[in-house]
Structure formats: C-alpha cells, structure tokens
C-alpha cells in the first residue's frame, strides 16, 4: 500500500511534467499535423540555459536566495526557448508546409539532431547537476514520502495548464488557433494571419517546455544533453494517449502516462517474478504508445475523423 501511494505520487509529479511537454506536441500537431520531433530538445535547452544562468549567479554570489536564483534561470530560459522555437519553425518547417508529408518529419529529426549535438558541444557530455539551493521540506502522506518540490511541481504544472486553457478558450489568439486547427483555409478567409498563429503556437509550446525542462532537472537533480530525447518521446506518447491535437487530452495523457510508468516500474518485478526489473521503466511509454496507436489511434479524448475516398 505504501509503495502504491508512493508510486502514485511519483507518477503524478512526473506525469504533470509530461503533460506540460505533451501540450507542445499536441498544439503543433493540431495545427500543422506535424510531429515536432525537436520539441524534446527544446525542453532540454530550457534546462541547460536555466542551469547555466543559475551557475553564473551562484558563481557571482553563492549567498543569493535559492528560489530567486532558480526564478532568474527560468526567466532567461523561457524567452530563450521561445526564440529558439520561433527560429526553428521559421527556418526549418515553414518552407516545407506544402511538401510531401514525410519531408517535414525528416526535417524535424534533423533539427533535433542539431540541437542535441549543439548542446553537447556547448555543455559537454557529462551530467550537469542541479545545485541544492531550493528549500527542502518533506511530509508523510498515507505512509508515503512527499517533498515540497514535488508539491510545487504539480501545482505549477496545474497552474500553467489552467493558464493555457484560458488562453486557448478565451483570448483572441486562442480563437484564431482553434480556427486554424479546424481549417487553415477557412481561418485565412476569416482574416486570421496563419503564419502568426503558427509561430505563436510554437512559441507558447516552447515556453511550457522550458519550464518543464527546469522542473525535470530540479526534480532529478540532473541535466544532460540527451535528456530531451526520452522526455520528448514520452511526452509525445502522452499526447497520443490523450488524443493528439486535443489539449485536454495531452494533460490527461501526461498524468496517466506518468502514473502508469511509476506503477509499472514499481510492480514489474512482482509481475514477472523478478525477471524484469525497474530499469525497464522506459519501456512502458513505448508499450502504451504502441497499444494506443494500434487499438485506439484517436486516443482517449480524440474524436475519430472519417477518411474520404
């Protein structure tokens, strides 16, 4: 029981981070039908930039309050990632809007490789540790161990998601985004500036990704040039699980995937009689992805669109 609650909590924390990243995939897919393969790398960049800023500040004055230092890191990382995503869309994806379907996907893979290796050249191959500067408190809930950081992560992710929800449902930009997702042609006729909407979509997704990147590195205490790859794939799986293109679906899918993964890792040993252990954690996301795509390609909340012959 304690293990169950503990894993549930761990899953919830991871899941809310997945959800934050999944939103970026789902928004871009909703509008462009493009799997923005590079999104995971944007997340990684967010973590790396923030850590660099944090390192610099602590280098100047190690006495600065931790929360403030991290906040400064985030405040630099978010615009940096937004700019990056803006540039990626403009340079790599925009010229290919009318190209055959696989072309932009291949480009996206290319961008992903570029970012990953650029990060490796800039920050090296080694793990970068997240300094222990955030206030640490821990509580016991139903026999499980909960830290203040975990609570903070979940709360922040929920807030961000609520904010995004409001943006998409209530603002002019959100309306334009929804219209564009429905039909680019119609939106254009209604006077929506498609290019701006698409840029905005990338930029908003990147902002969420940057924050997710900082959170995940704070949570694990580590960052690495390779971290965006797995995180991105899992977040994408989460988006598919929820129903790609569907914002509420990405949130649900992220949370569910986090929980599935945590429980799976916690119990896989028992299920397989000790044959497989918790280092198979990464496999769950892929199994979920494959199962969903095979049995319910529209995801949990997605609606099935009939095809035309």
């Amino acid at each position: 029981m304690e293990i169950f609650v503990q894993q549930l909590i761990n899953g919830l924390v991871l899941g809310s981070i997945y959800a934050l990243v999944a939103l970026g995939y789902t928004m871009v897919y909703g509008i462009l039908e493009l799997i923005n393969f590079a999104h995971g790398e944007v997340t990684m960049m967010g973590a790396m930039v923030a850590l660099t800023v944090i390192g610099l500040l602590l280098g100047l004055n190690p006495e600065l309050p931790g929360l403030l230092v991290v906040l400064a890191g985030v405040l630099i990382a978010v615009p940096a990632c937004m700019l990056l995503a803006f540039a990626i869309e403009k340079v790599a994806y925009r010229p290919l809007r009318r190209a055959p379907r696989l072309a932009p996907l291949i480009t996206a893979i290319g961008v992903s490789i570029v970012l990953q290796n650029a990060a490796m050249l800039i920050w090296g191959r080694q793990y970068i540790s997240f300094p222990q500067i955030l206030p640490q408190m821990s509580f016991t809930v139903l026999g499980a161990h909960v830290t203040s950081l975990q609570i903070f992560i979940v709360l922040l992710c929920m807030t961000m998601m609520a904010g995004l929800w409001w943006l998409v449902q209530k603002t002019r930009l959100g309306r334009a985004m929804r219209a564009t997702a429905q039909s680019k042609e119609v939106a254009m006729l209604m006077g929506v500036d498609i290019d701006r909407v698409i840029s905005a979509t990338f930029v908003i997704g990147a902002a969420l990704a940057a924050i997710a990147g900082v959170l995940v590195s704070a949570y694990y205490g580590l960052a690495h040039y390779y971290m965006g790859f797995m995180l991105g794939l899992k977040a994408f799986s989460a988006a598919v699980l929820g129903g790609i293109g569907n914002i509420a679906g990405a949130m649900l899918g992220g949370l569910l995937l986090g929980i599935i993964e945590a429980l799976g890792a916690g119990y896989i040993g028992d299920f397989t009689g000790g044959f497989l252990g918790s280092h198979y954690q990464d496999v769950f996301a892929f199994f979920v992805l494959i199962l969903v795509l095979v049995f319910r390609p529209s995801g949990l909340l997605g609606e099935r669109v009939a095809s035309r012959a």
Binding site: T107, G110, V114, V294, A306
Partner: protein, 372 residues
C-alpha cells in the same frame, strides 16, 4: 557510376564499363591501403555494410513509402543472433553460412510481427511506433543480463567468431597467392559479394509485380487497394524484406567486429541509415549507394579536422567526432528544404517533390473509416 552502366551507348561500351568497374572494385582495398592506410580499408568495409543496410531500408522507405525509424532493431537482431550462435557466450560456434539464413529469417519474422499491427497507421505515426520498437529492443538488449544472462547487458558480447571460408579464418592477416590479405581485406570481398547480391535483388524487386505494387501504395494507398492490391500484405512484405537485409547485415557486422553491444544499435543508427537514403535519393538505387558511401566516408575524413585544429591552434578545440552528428542534422534539414529529392534522384522522385499540385502533397487519407 551505375547510371553510366545502365545507359551505355553501345554493347562494347557497356562491357568495357563493367570490366572497368569490376577491376576497380577488385583492387580498391589495395589502392586504398597504399594511398591512405589500412584503417581506411576498414572504412571501406563499413561503407559496403551500410550500402546493404541502406538498400534494405530503401525497400521500406523508398519503394513502399513507409517511414521506418526502428530499422536498427533488425540489424541488432541479426547481430545478436550471430553472437549467440558463434561465440563463447553460450559456447556455440556455428558456421556463418548456417547463421546468416537464421538471422535473416528471425529478422523477417520480427518484421512481420511488428508490421502486422502497425502498418495501417498513417506515415508519421508509423515512424514513431517503429522508433519505439527500436528503443524497446535496445532497452531489452541492455538489460537482459540478469537474472538469466542472455545479452550480457551494456558490456555486450565479446570474442565473436570471425567468418571462416574454406579453412581461411577472416580474423587474421594471411598470405594467399603471395599477396598479404588483412582481416579488413577478407571482409571487403565478403561484403562486396553481399552488396552485389543486394543491389541485384533491389533492382529485380523494383522492376517487378511486387515493386509496382509498392510504388502504387506509396503513390496512393486507397487507389492501390481499389485496384486489387492487398495493401496490408504488400506493406508487410516490404517490411519483412527490409528486415531480412537488416538481419543479414547485422550478422556480417557481428562477425566483422568480433564484438557487439547495445551501443551500436541506437536510434541514431536508424537515423543515419535514413539520412543515407534521403541524401542520395530515396528509392533510387545508385543514389542510395552514393548516400551510404558518402555518409560512411565523410565522417572519417572529418577526423582530419582534429589534426588541422592541432596544427592551427595547438589543441583540439572541437572533437570532430562530436561535430559529425551535428553536421548530419544540418545536412538533413538543408537537404529537405533545398533538394528533397536527394543528390541523384530518380526522374520520378524529382517530379514528385517539385510538382506544385503534386499528388504526393495531397493528403493520403487512411483507407477504412468504419472498421479502422
């Protein structure tokens, strides 16, 4: 090169060209060894191995239009099977000609197993699912060392038997007919033979009933089905065929290296092979060959960047090995934007990518609405 061979002006010219090419290929490792170094002969071997892999993946991606990002899984299966059956790991030492067909079959079967549930997915979903499959295989290879040691985990499997033909072990340097053959030389000729067979099969498949069915599916899956093509089976066939080449190449790789570990079978290997196809010209055999050779040789040439840096600044500022993938990424993006049809594309492909109202640009809706 092959293009020239396919469109010779006269029969005599054709014969001359073929003889010239044959002689060149026959003496190439010695030329390379003399002109550069023995390590370059190894590079040559790898180039041939990648030609096999790229032509295999090309059946899936280029012919049938299915983006497979998990191709390396089949390569890994072939390699591990070879290692299991010809190394001290399980104490088995089967001959290579017995293992390769097994590896090919195993890979083909896995191709069908993976393809059966996933092939009705639309292109980009298929890409991600195959990618996931590749990662799953790698994670298992990495972890199946306990409680029963099957793969030996991240350390990989060592001391794999070299290929032995007619009592000659390809693993060591030997004198034959008064000529010194190193291991790399032996494997060069072995790989060359496999490459030629692969090229032959690739051409024959392309120009056949099956090849036309693949092309039809790539062009318009709905119309292909409505013309009587069993799209699921034909796509599975492409998957299985590609996998077979992957499996064979994996076996060759294991024997050649004498050592394998999960590190050799990452997603990036799949992407590298895809890059070769894209760079050279998807679906076009000479293009794919060129792409494979370029992307094997260029990174090796990049190593000289390190020497130049040392000469210029006194130290290696940027490790050329690290630069390799970065340049691949840049090349991939630039190719897709400026020359998506590849360096030497087939005439058809060129049209496809440059047609304003191209059929390829039209959405390939999935086939079945109510039963999907």
């Amino acid at each position: 090169m092959l293009e020239f061979l396919r469109r010779p002006r006269t029969r005599a010219q054709a014969r001359a060209a073929i003889i010239l090419l044959a002689v060149l290929l026959a003496v190439l490792p010695f030329l390379v060894e003399a002109g550069l170094s023995r390590s370059w002969v190894r590079v040559l071997d790898f180039a041939l191995l990648y030609v096999i892999l790229a032509l295999g993946l090309n059946i899936v991606v280029g012919y049938a239009g299915l983006l497979d990002l998990g191709f390396v899984a089949f390569y890994a299966l072939g390699a591990y099977l070879y290692a299991w059956l010809a190394s001290p790991h399980f104490g088995l030492h089967l001959p290579f000609w017995a293992i390769l067909p097994l590896g090919a079959t195993l890979a083909g079967v896995f191709g069908v197993l993976l393809g059966a549930p996933t092939l009705r997915l639309r292109g980009d979903y298929l890409a991600i699912v195959t990618l996931g499959f590749g990662e799953i295989i790698r994670i298992f290879m990495n972890n199946l060392n306990a409680p029963v040691n099957i793969t030996n985990g991240p350390q990989g499997i060592n001391l794999i038997d070299p290929v032995t033909i007619a009592g000659i072990s390809f693993g060591k340097t030997q004198q034959l007919f008064g000529i010194t053959f190193s291991s790399a030389h032996f494997y060069y000729y072995l790989f060359l033979a496999f490459t030629l067979v692969t090229v032959f099969i690739a051409y024959r498949l392309q120009d056949s009933r099956i090849g036309r069915a693949w092309a039809a599916i790539r062009e318009d899956e709905v119309a292909a089905a409505a013309m009587g093509i069993n799209t699921r089976n034909i796509k599975l066939l492409a998957f299985a065929m590609g996998a077979v080449f992957g499996g064979v190449a994996g076996g060759l790789f294991a024997a050649f290296q004498g050592f394998i570990s999960p590190e050799s079978f990452t997603l990036w290997e799949s992407i590298l092979i895809l890059c070769m196809i894209v760079l050279g010209g998807m679906g076009h055999i000479p293009g794919v060959i060129l792409g494979a050779v370029l992307l094997t040789v260029l990174p090796e040439a990049l190593r000289y960047l390190g020497d130049w840096q040392r000469a210029a600044v006194g130290e290696v500022v940027v490790d050329p090995g690290d630069l390799r993938m970065l340049l691949f990424g840049v090349a991939l993006v630039l190719m897709m934007i400026y020359r998506p049809e590849g360096l030497i594309p087939s005439r058809q492909r060129k049209r496809e990518f440059h047609a304003e109202d191209g059929v390829a640009a039209q959405e390939q809706a999935s086939l079945y609405d109510s039963r999907a």
